[in-house]
Amino acid sequence: MALDSPDVTDGELLGGGSRRVTGDGSGGPALMRSNGVKHLLLVVLAWIGIFLLVKLLQDSNPFRVTQLATMAYYLPAIAGLTVLTGVNGQISLGHGALMAVGAYTTSVLLQRQESLPFIVVVLASVATACVVGYLVGIAAARLHGPYLAGATLALAVGLPGLAVYFRDFLGGDQGLRVTPPSSPAWFESITGDLGRGYVTVLGWALALSALFFLSNLVNSRYGRQWRAVRDDEIAASLLGIDLGRARVLAFVVSAGCAGVGGSLLAVVTRLTAPLSFTIVLSLFLLTAIVLGGLGSLVGAVLGAALLTFLPTFLNNQALAAGLDNSQAANLAPVVFGLVLVLVMLLAPRGLVGTTRTAYYQRRARRSRSTGA
């Protein structure tokens, strides 16, 4: 039973080497096998790149720095969702609500325990998101297709309402204010004053950590189990995989990532309010994973970038072209829709998946023509 048939694009995450590990295992250089080291290197380099970018743009274009912070909170949530949907085959329309769980945990903790180190706050947010994810995951493991979509949709619609119901604790409609963590003295002595760029740099450190964690997890035993469950339940059970447990675990991991995203959203936005977590957020996350390519972490980065930069770009283009404000504001959803239709027609594996397939096909052709 081919668990990972060559025409399915998945399991290929940061870098292109993972196929050899997860696939048929037919060799490849030893270096390529050591994905952990390679991914770590990539993540550290990416973080240094972001840091330098923040330093560079800090004075000349501070708005870009805040946009990078926005991208940092989308990224972990999108990455977690793409693993859940692309690798494990479960769909979630409720990831916006899981982000809300992370965001509210962060806001409540920062409000009541100002002295807590931020990393503790983030870990607590991940933990609560995981608990909620676990509860949802138990239900989700029994549901399929549209029923699963419906159940998670209910989560997205219902959960933010709790903030209104427990308004004394969670702030009701007007939400909870958040004071973002400030840069520790030792860090500032190395980096200089980053201003609001500190949150960007911090956000990317966490977002990239989440990516690193996911990329290794997906290439581990768990990732292989998840793919097996996705591709053929019966075969997977025959192999001794507990279907329910594998699904719940995938949901918990994905929820934890949404928790990181939510936690970052709270400190970037400085306010956690139910209106920030409407169903539209969940659906935008879903759009991002489809555009990027299901199951691909590189696709998740691309999806996060599209969600962050495309609306502003389109709005400004539309205004420059002479549309009025209201028309310009409507342009972004229209273009997202059109791009989605085009991607599905022309590149059904998403932007990353399609590029990668084209690359493999060309390489295969080349090796056919030169070799045997």
Partner: protein, 464 residues
């Protein structure tokens, strides 16, 4: 045995995602059928402390970002798409039309006023993003007319930390009036407690036997308003019902008010819930009188919503009939008063600079705010900067004359806005005044008749 593959097809997911975008677009400004969450109030203590060292909180700030010899750049965040767009999306175009009108006459001190309108979809996260764009990238001088309580709450700290004027928030929350904490922020419309107090006082004097049922949005809009009402008629209230924004079934609340024998419903809610309450009462054969706060009621919008919610069973005309006799607080002239000189002025401006559609009360609201901004810019003088415009409003704001029916309460210790409302009745398609405009403040400030002569607009239409 399940045989179906559990992996959702990519196409299926794409279809869902596409559906999402359609959903998003549905709420956009054109399709005015959605709810209109206004600006539920924020908690916060009114900042009317007896500070003496108030002068010069912003004095050292001589920042002139966004000001050139020929231009003053303003920015605003508004719901142009999404659930709050119907109605509210007409406010900023009204303001912009008025600025364009002023610019055609040469602007203020030779500077043209440009208003950069950004859509925040009524989502606080997006508000943060667009205000960053306005302040960091477009480098506007000030944020003007930012709309909504939760949305504006997301940016108020950052605007004040960056010392950027935050003029005339479009919301009646008490939170904007904290000059110690937020020296750069000013409210504009009467706050919800002021409205509640004036309604309570009116009922006590004119309807002492009414059994009052409160119909409240379950947030600070409802709570601040109810607090004001209860100062006067706590003993007349027979029932108090809250609804949660987003839940469109208000039969339990209206049923409870009916069961308690309430014959006068006082509502602090958003326009969509006005329509729902009236429709639900009609279904229950319940015929109370209604009195709504200003944010709850606009005849055009609510009768449209009635037609919409009843799926055509109630036409827009019949809807207007259902609303006949409803009382409402107001502080601006309405578009049906075609003989009011302000409405004539704004109609002229809108015909020249608007989008060709008829002028709405929301457009009037936007123009009245823009009129206040122009007065503030004039008061700051030729050498306007981010510091002196604040002190100019604190010193001169209370004497600004304009279409508002009660004066502003602005001073160094008070950033709260219009200090009172009148009570009117919607009757035969017109809004008729029941009680002249009264003014008050928060807490136990007494209620007094407004001492203003009705201002008439200057001939040029531009404040002098």
């Amino acid at each position: 045995m399940r045989i179906s593959r559990s992996r959702p097809g990519t196409m299926g997911i794409a279809a869902l995602a596409l559906g999402s975008l359609v959903l998003t677009a549905c709420g956009s400004s054109g399709g005015g059928n959605s709810t209109t969450p206004d600006t539920p109030g924020a908690s916060g203590t009114p900042g009317s402390s007896q500070s003496s060292a108030a002068k010069g909180r912003t004095a050292g700030n001589t920042d002139t970002t966004g000001i050139s010899d020929t231009e003053i750049k303003l920015g605003t965040h508004q719901p142009l798409t999404g659930v709050a767009a119907p109605g509210y999306s007409n406010i900023a175009p009204g303001a912009k039309a008025y600025y364009d009108y002023v610019n055609d006459a040469g602007g203020v001190n030779g500077r043209k006023i440009t208003l950069n309108i950004k859509d925040d979809t009524y989502n606080p996260t997006t508000t943060g993003q667009v205000v960053d764009e306005l302040t960091l990238q477009d480098k506007v001088f000030a944020i003007a007319h930012g709309l909504g309580t939760p949305t504006h709450t997301a940016v108020i700290d950052q605007l004040n930390e960056s010392k950027i004027p935050d003029l005339f928030v479009s919301s009646g929350a008490l939170a904007w009036n904290q000059p110690e904490k937020y020296p750069y922020t000013f409210g504009w419309q009467p706050d919800y407690t002021v409205e509640g107090k004036i309604i309570g006082d009116y009922i006590k004097k004119n309807m002492p036997n009414a059994k009052v049922g409160l119909y409240l949005q379950g947030d600070d809009l409802g709570r601040d308003g109810a607090a004001g009402v209860k100062q006067f008629i706590a003993s007349q209230i027979v029932s108090e019902q809250e609804y949660t924004s987003g839940n469109t079934n208000v039969a339990p609340q209206i049923g409870a008010l009916q069961a308690a024998g309430a014959d006068l419903i006082v509502g602090f809610n958003v326009p969509a819930y006005t329509a729902l309450a009236v429709l639900t009462a009609q279904k229950l054969q319940y015929k109370p009188q209604y009195m709504f706060s200003s944010v709850a009621f606009d005849p055009q919008l609510v009768s449209g919503l009635l037609a919409n919610f009843s799926k055509g069973a109630v036409s827009a005309e019949a809807g207007a009939g259902l609303l006949d006799g409803v009382s409402v607080t107001s502080y601006l002239p309405t578009v049906d008063k075609t003989d009011n000189p302000w409405i004539q002025l704004f109609d002229k401006v809108w015909k020249a600079k608007g989008d060709g559609k008829p002028l709405t009360n929301f457009g009037v609201y936007g123009m009245a705010e823009a009129y206040t901004v122009v007065q503030s810019i004039q008061a700051a003088g030729k050498d306007i900067n981010r510091g002196n415009i604040i002190s100019a409003i604190e010193q001169n704001g209370a004497s600004f004359k304009g279409p508002w029916e009660a004066p502003f309460a602005y001073s160094a210790d008070n950033h709260s806005g219009i200090s009172g409302v009148g009570i009117s009745q919607f009757k035969g398609g017109k809004i008729v005044q029941l009680e002249p405009v009264m003014t008050t403040g928060d807490g136990d400030t007494p209620i007094t008749p407004a001492k203003v002569d009705p201002a008439t607009p200057p001939a040029s239409g531009i404040p002098e």
